[in-house]
Assembly symmetry: C2
Homo-oligomer: 261 residues x 2
């Protein structure tokens, strides 16, 4: 069975040229097939401010209006995606940038409007990942670099969470490949003591997750991240690890970060 490693990086790595460069060097050495999913970063916010686009938030969630959609399509799908692709190409990694619209890679639906209209935000459809396309690209020797954008196949690009995209790509490919999923974020792993980077919890399963939530050790934005990771495990992803981009090799070998199992 072919081995596939799906790695997600967030804005903290993208916004730091030195960290990004070091990460991409490590990423390019991953054996077997690999896919990189990237998030946004501060560039979109900075540029939006310059353009007078002020994001609206409802209950802590950003609303993607038409202007914001155009902004993230430019910045995520154009600037960040192509910077990463050109940088990987320069170090011999045959990177290939995509959004969910390209080749109908990821089909999504505009988030159901109940109390809140989130605008052009996409929730990935059931069986929305085009595994045939991914398999074809990977077997051609290409390394997909995926921006956090999907489409509704009715002409609209949609803003979609990068963690979710990484999880859905990994899960969909787990039917035919041995898949590892690596989430890179700010910390070295999930910490027992948020102020101590050396307190990384080595493994978390569903039961331990419940305990850690009850003890308020896992809270806020970490809850959906760990839930996503547990979903991936329950859908056949062989290994899910959460940690720091600077320790990518350790995350892949399982010597660093928090393993979700």
């Amino acid at each position: 069975m072919n081995q596939l490693t799906v790695v997600k990086i967030g804005g903290n790595v993208i916004d730091n040229a030195d960290q990004l460069s070091a990460f991409l060097s490590a990423f390019s050495t991953i054996p077997g097939y690999s896919i990189l999913v990237h998030g946004g970063g501060k560039i979109a916010t900075t540029l939006g401010n310059k353009l007078g686009i002020t994001s609206q938030y409802v209950e802590g969630r950003r609303i993607t209006d038409r202007e914001t959609l155009d902004l993230v399509t430019m910045v995520y799908g154009g600037l960040i995606n192509k910077r990463i692709v050109a940088s990987l190409q320069a170090i011999g990694c045959n990177a290939f940038g995509l959004t969910g619209a390209d080749g109908n890679l990821i089909r999504a639906s505009i988030r159901g409007v109940e109390q809140i209209n989130y605008g052009f935000v996409g929730d990935i459809n059931n069986n929305g990942v085009n595994t045939g396309l991914l398999t074809s690209l990977l077997s051609t020797g290409l390394v997909p670099v995926v921006a956090p954008l999907t489409h509704d196949k009715a002409g609209n690009m949609l803003n979609t969470n990068a963690d979710t995209i990484a999880q859905q790509l990994a899960t969909a490919m787990a039917h035919s490949m041995s898949v590892r999923l690596i989430y890179c974020f700010e910390k070295r792993g999930i910490l027992a003591d948020v102020n101590d980077e050396n307190s990384v919890i080595r493994t978390i399963d569903a039961r331990r997750f419940r305990e850690l939530k009850e003890q308020n050790i896992i809270g806020g934005g970490m809850i959906p991240k760990v839930s996503n990771a547990l979903d991936a495990v329950s859908h056949g992803v062989v290994r899910v690890v959460i940690g720091q981009a600077a320790e990518l090799q350790g995350l892949i070998s399982g010597n660093s970060g928090t393993i979700i199992q």
Copy 2:
């Protein structure tokens, strides 16, 4: 021998939503393999003005400094490219957006600096088109949509003329496929009388081109366009036609526009 149609559209079509939509409908019905190459349009200039990026011109040519490069990477590679891809996907055409960096599709070199430093502008290398990748994408059923950006494989994106990209893709693919190249621009073809849209010159060869230049019927920006077209013919492209996007079907059948032979 497989048939491939390479179509180039410019800013005048991209900037007009109705024209673009009608063009994409016609484009999606082209039989055989097809590739769409798109230019820029006014969006980059408008956005650049809002951001306070003022393009410098030297002898009528725009200088691509770092800020301008980021701008065109966002607008051409992100916004315009993904709008076109999402629109084609909505009408059942399996479009797939690329720049020259993606999968090392088009390798270029920063334009040689003599008197003038054009900045991040790329001239396509000899054998710079990755025909293996294009063949693989086409045979997978994908329709490449190519933005006017290349890379130097040293980490830099480069701004590159869309006419030249279309010509180079067509020429490179002419070794293995029967290739037609269609340039869409503002007029219905090359006009004997610039004020009369019904004065389309039906065919032009190298000799007629020299005559038309001497008579000042072809001048300015049309000279490189027709030169490009003649180059394509001399390198094995079966048919090159210049005309209006609204008449795409006629251009393909040879009933509209100016045929370069």
